[in-house]
């Protein structure tokens, strides 16, 4: 037996409620985050990721309280992303009970922030989230560009180069989201996932586009991801985490069965 591949349900949280957007619009309510997290834990989730999509900073306190409540009842790793802009934001989330934080936009505007965060809190709790979109007309070599602000703003940065740089700066893990696939239910961008996974020495979490359980297996087998993240297929109880693990197991992938 060896290290298991991880299944990570992601909860997009807005004003203290779980929501799921399709390409970051058309938001549907999917419940109370504490209850949803407890259900995933019971079903055997390997970690849980919360993405705080609340825009205003006064509502950020709501997220802190959600994390506190979950951490008192759910004893698996918890990651919080969204709105992490400075060391104080990280400290507050770790103190609330998060084990890792996801840094996205703030890493692009100030890459050195990642270095400072890793030095202060350790690489093990610094996840750099990368939102990447395909560029070019398809005739040239594959190329992906980093986007920020929930996929609205291009940066001109090459995704592979950026991932490598973030690992050099101290990222302990990469959360890789395909903006082309997010919300489409067409499956991960496997070429992107594989390219990044092979380019960096730290674990890569594939994200964006999962519509069925086979997509999760594809992300691991073809995309070479160390972990797979999905939101909507779990929220509306189409599939349980346990269904997902059984599917991976049937394809020869090592998983943790709770």
């Amino acid at each position: 037996m060896s290290l298991a591949k991880r299944i990570i349900p992601c909860l997009d949280v807005d004003h203290g409620r779980v929501v799921k957007g399709v390409k970051f619009v058309d938001i549907r309510d999917a419940g109370n985050p504490v209850e949803v997290a407890r259900r995933y834990d019971r079903e055997g989730a390997d970690e849980i990721t919360f993405l705080d999509i609340t825009a205003s900073s006064e509502d950020r306190q709501t997220m802190v309280s959600v994390v506190e409540q979950v951490a008192g009842q759910v004893f698996i790793p918890l990651t919080v992303g969204g709105g992490i802009r400075n060391l104080e934001d990280i400290r507050r989330m770790l103190n609330a009970g998060a084990d890792k934080v996801g840094i996205n936009t703030a890493a692009v505007s100030d890459p050195d922030f990642v270095r400072r965060a890793a030095e202060r809190f350790g690489s093990q709790c610094i996840v750099v989230a990368i939102d990447a979109k395909r560029t070019g007309n398809g005739s040239e070599a594959l190329h992906w560009e980093i986007f920020t602000h929930g996929g609205r703003r291009g940066t001109g940065l090459d995704a592979l180069e950026w991932a490598k740089k973030m690992v050099d700066y101290g990222a302990g893990e990469i959360l890789l989201t395909s903006m082309d696939r997010d919300g489409t239910r067409e499956g991960f961008d496997l070429e992107l996932t594989r390219a990044v996974s092979e380019a960096v020495s730290v674990p890569v979490i594939a994200s964006g586009g999962v519509g069925n359980l086979d997509h999760l297996a594809d992300g691991i087998i073809q995309g070479k991801a160390d972990a797979v993240l999905a939101a909507s297929i779990f929220h509306f109880a189409e599939y349980s985490i346990e269904d997902a693990k059984r599917c991976l197991l049937s394809k020869g992938i090592e998983v943790r069965l709770a």
Binding site: M1, A71, G72, F75, P77, Q124, E198, V202, D226, A258
Partner: protein, 213 residues
């Protein structure tokens, strides 16, 4: 009422371990503390930690905790977690050579760059749920089946020459020591406070352990 001191020396977030201990042992008082007297008077001691070993040893020195740890580790039920296992060895090769507490013979080394099970380069840190093979019986393994999975996140691991002290191994890609035990000392490389049911079981076992192995 029994008490558990969680040594708070500035190496990482101790809320998770404190919450997990309180969850499995509501009857215990959990004291997150850097105060030598509090630690000395507690019935049980947990020595957690994440981060860099050099900072860890410097903080312990600065807070006058080295002697306290040497002292309580001789008599009380004592649980080291993650960096709290690594610091119990004689030295660590992380950031040069760092002298550690020397409660177990051997040193701490980095995972070597090599190929994983599927032929791709081994990812470091070793992060996620791995199967733990118990290599000896121990009260802290009570009720925990062989090869139960626990959550790991680390880039360095212990290499001890005290073979008899090895309490468990895990494979990444070859076997490495992930738990050490001797008398009243028990230490794990994984995070029981993040390892769901089996991790809570281990913490519960610790909360009632009399220190005899």
């Amino acid at each position: 009422m029994s008490s558990v001191a969680v040594i708070d020396y500035g190496m990482g977030n101790l809320h998770s371990i404190a919450k997990a201990l309180q969850f499995v042992s509501p009857e215990s008082t959990i004291l997150v503390s850097a105060d030598p007297d509090t630690i000395r008077h507690a019935d049980r001691v947990v020595f957690p930690g994440v981060g860099a070993i050099r900072d860890c040893m410097e903080h312990l020195k600065h807070l006058n905790l080295i002697e306290v740890i040497q002292n309580v580790s001789k008599k009380k039920p004592f649980l080291g977690i993650c960096l709290g296992l690594q610091a119990l060895l004689e030295s660590s090769r992380e950031s040069g050579e760092v002298e550690c507490l020397g409660l177990f013979r051997g040193s701490v080394v980095r995972f070597e760059n090599s190929l994983g099970a599927d032929g791709s380069p081994l990812k470091i840190p070793h992060m996620g749920w791995n199967a733990v093979l118990q290599t000896r019986a121990h009260p802290l393994w009570s009720g925990i089946p062989q090869n139960s999975r626990f959550y790991f996140v680390h880039s360095y691991h212990a290499e001890t020459t005290d073979r008899a002290c090895i309490a468990a191994t895990a494979d990444y890609p070859g076997p490495f020591t992930c738990a050490l035990a001797r008398d009243n000392l028990f230490a794990v490389q994984f995070h029981p406070e993040k390892s769901q049911t089996m991790g809570l079981k281990l913490l519960r076992n610790f909360s009632v352990w009399d220190g005899r192995s």
